[in-house]
Amino acid sequence: MNPRPMDEPVTPKWLLPVLANVAIAVLAGTATPPGAAAVAAAQSFLLLYAGVFALVGMSLTMIVGLVATDRSLLGIRHRVLAQAVHRASSMAAMAFLVAHLVVKILAGHARAADAVVFRPTALGLGALAFDLLLMVMITGLLRAWFAAGTRPGLWRTLHVISYFAWPVAIVHGLTAGRQAAGWVTWGYVLSLVTVGLALLTRVLLVVRPVDPVREALEPDSPRRETSVRPTAVRR
């Protein structure tokens, strides 16, 4: 299954030199007239579509992330695969989100502060979604650290925030900028409903009634997490 060479570094050795060379080539390319035209075209493309791609990537991340937790239909290998897709699509979505912010600010459609400061406007909702998703992403990367810590359940609480941030991002996408086509709006609504139903199924399937023994031990914390087990006794 895994051919595993010895002492393989986490990032391949060739990655950094290749990236540096590509960056230099792109910078050099922009100095030429066709290069400048290509960059301008890329910018206007990102201006129009980076946000859309980020939103689609996020939706995919949400759906696959939820699917990855399923035990009733999926085998372990499918769940491992789903986790990998979840991670990859979330990274792609975040990359497009950053590109979306950068080109919008560079084009003068928004100020730098608008990217992070929440206000009750269409733009402000985007900032709120970005803040929350950034937090979810960073804590997501630190998952192993939470697992080693004293309160692994905290990670789940933080990760669940994405179920709030994602709809906010969708509302921002549909209300800010150009008018969305009807099928686009319906597509997002369908995603929201599907994920909502899947989430409901998960909660119903997975969260068990609180153990009476635990109830007795911890009478003041009848917590129900969306975790696969109630929280540990010692907490």
């Binding site: 895994n2 002492d7 986490v10 372990i76 998952r143 697992a147 087990r229």
Partner: protein, 474 residues
């Protein structure tokens, strides 16, 4: 730990050990004299007259090794293997610390006969042998350059192919495809590779001459043998000495059984140990092997099955992790043995697990481990029966056989209150985790080898219940 040294009969390699802690060049010359150079033909003839064999474990005829390297072509390299990775062996370290010039004499004699370009000595990095050897090289001015290569001590670093790679500046693990060192060894040059004791024996042989050399030992196996007894005492005995005499001399009891040939060797039951003589033929006659001269009696009052599990766990963790039969096969052996000890498994399952590696893999690590475990199943059959019926034999379970402790390696830990038996960990790191019949993880309880660390971290990050973590760590 400095090993004690004793001699049974007249000392050869250990001549002068009774008077001097270390034989510097002057003392060495006074004991063994100056060895005259020999032509390759004379050297091969001399070696073949006493049928000198390699002393690293495989007992390959040294004359044939010499002849294989001698073909006209690029200059040869003489590679001395003194990097004993076996925890139960101290003989090479003893030779290097106390009689380094004897090893160098033998190596330089072969090097001169082969017109070699260099002599390379592989030693345990930072061990006492290394400093003594470097000092010895400085004391004399060898005509052929002598290079010392330090290896981190681990079980497979003593494997010949691993040593050749280390001497060529490569990662010290056995090469995936077998290459004969005599054809292409260190840096691609034809290489004469043998154990440190072999070269010391060669020097003694050249100094005594074949008749005197054969005055000790058996007609088929002339000369003496270096043994490491109970992981603490190095003893030089004439081949053919009864094993019982050796054990009595070292004041150890055969106990519940005697392991001969090290952790790739075989267990002898006390009766076999009492009747065996120390020689290749003598130990093979009772189902054992001389190997690198390791003799490990297992005392009374410890659980033999737990000892075997402890050693097998160590051997599994010592794998380089490059061949599937070893990487997944050895943890499987540990698992079946543990089930056997707990009374839930069976001997048949252990035999199946042991058979998987036979004849496969880059080196004989899976094979040697299989021999060790299979012989234990025979010799400790009674104890295993008790385990099968009761789940324990009631004897204390601390491992008494010599094993290096590695407390710096990370381990996987399970938060049992969180674990929900998803089984993702067993899928991601089958080397460390398998699932019990209820789908909950069972960990191979060993320090984690470096090659599996990355996958283990992945398992920690992927555990759906956040129930897995790594503790310890470099």
């Amino acid at each position: 730990m400095t090993p004690t040294f004793t001699t049974l009969g007249s000392p050869r390699l250990s001549m002068g050990f009774d008077r001097f802690e270390r034989l510097d060049l002057g003392r060495h010359r006074a004991m063994h004299g100056r060895i005259p150079p020999l032509s390759l033909g004379d050297l091969i003839e001399l070696v073949e007259r006493v049928d000198l064999r390699g002393r690293g474990g495989a007992a390959f005829p040294f004359g044939r090794k010499l002849a294989a390297v001698s073909t006209t072509g690029p200059p040869a390299v003489v590679l001395v293997n003194a990097a004993e990775g076996e925890p139960g062996s101290l003989k090479d370290a003893t030779l290097l610390t106390r009689a380094p010039h004897l090893v160098l004499d033998g190596a330089l004699l072969a090097a001169a006969a082969l017109h070699a370009r260099e002599v390379v000595v592989g030693v345990v990095e930072g061990g006492p042998g290394e400093s003594s050897l470097r000092e010895a090289i400085a004391e004399r001015e060898p005509r052929v350059p002598v290079r010392v290569v330090g290896l981190v001590e681990r079980f497979i670093s003593g494997e010949g192919g691993a040593l050749v790679r280390a001497a060529s500046g490569d990662v010290p693990i056995p090469p995936g495809r077998k290459v004969r060192a005599s054809t292409s060894g260190v840096d691609g040059f034809p290489t004469l590779l043998s154990n440190a004791e072999t070269f010391a024996q060669l020097a003694v042989l050249a100094s005594l001459g074949p008749e005197l050399f054969a005055s000790a030992g058996t007609p088929r196996e002339p000369g003496t043998v270096l043994l490491t007894v109970a992981g603490a005492t190095v003893v030089e005995v004439a081949a053919g000495t009864p094993l019982r005499t050796v054990l009595e001399h070292c004041e150890v009891d055969p106990g519940q059984g005697v392991l001969v040939g090290g952790y790739h060797g075989a267990w002898l039951n006390p009766q076999a140990a009492a009747s065996a003589v120390v020689s290749r033929a003598g130990l093979e006659a009772v189902g054992g092997t001389l190997g690198a001269g390791i003799v490990l009696p297992l005392g009374h009052g410890v659980c033999p099955l737990e000892e075997v599990i402890g050693v097998t766990t160590y051997l599994a963790a010592q794998s380089a992790g490059q061949c599937g039969p070893c990487r997944l096969g050895l943890p499987d052996v540990v698992r079946t043995l543990s089930e056997l000890a707990a009374g839930s498994g069976g001997i048949a399952a252990v035999r199946r697990a042991v058979g998987i590696g036979r004849g496969r893999g880059a080196c004989n690590h899976p094979d040697g481990t299989a021999r060790f475990v299979s012989s234990a199943l025979e010799v400790f059959a009674r104890d295993i029966e008790i385990h099968r019926d009761h789940g324990t034999c009631g004897l204390p379970t601390g491992v008494s056989l010599p094993l290096p402790r590695d407390d710096t390696a990370p381990r996987l830990t399970i938060d049992w209150a969180r674990c929900a038996g998803h089984g993702v960990c067993a899928y991601v790191v089958p080397e460390l985790v398998h699932l019990d019949r209820n789908g909950y993880p069972v960990l191979v309880n060993s320090p984690m080898p470096a090659w599996v660390e990355r996958e283990a971290r992945r398992a920690v990050a992927m555990c759906p219940a956040l129930a897995l973590r790594m503790t310890g760590g470099r």
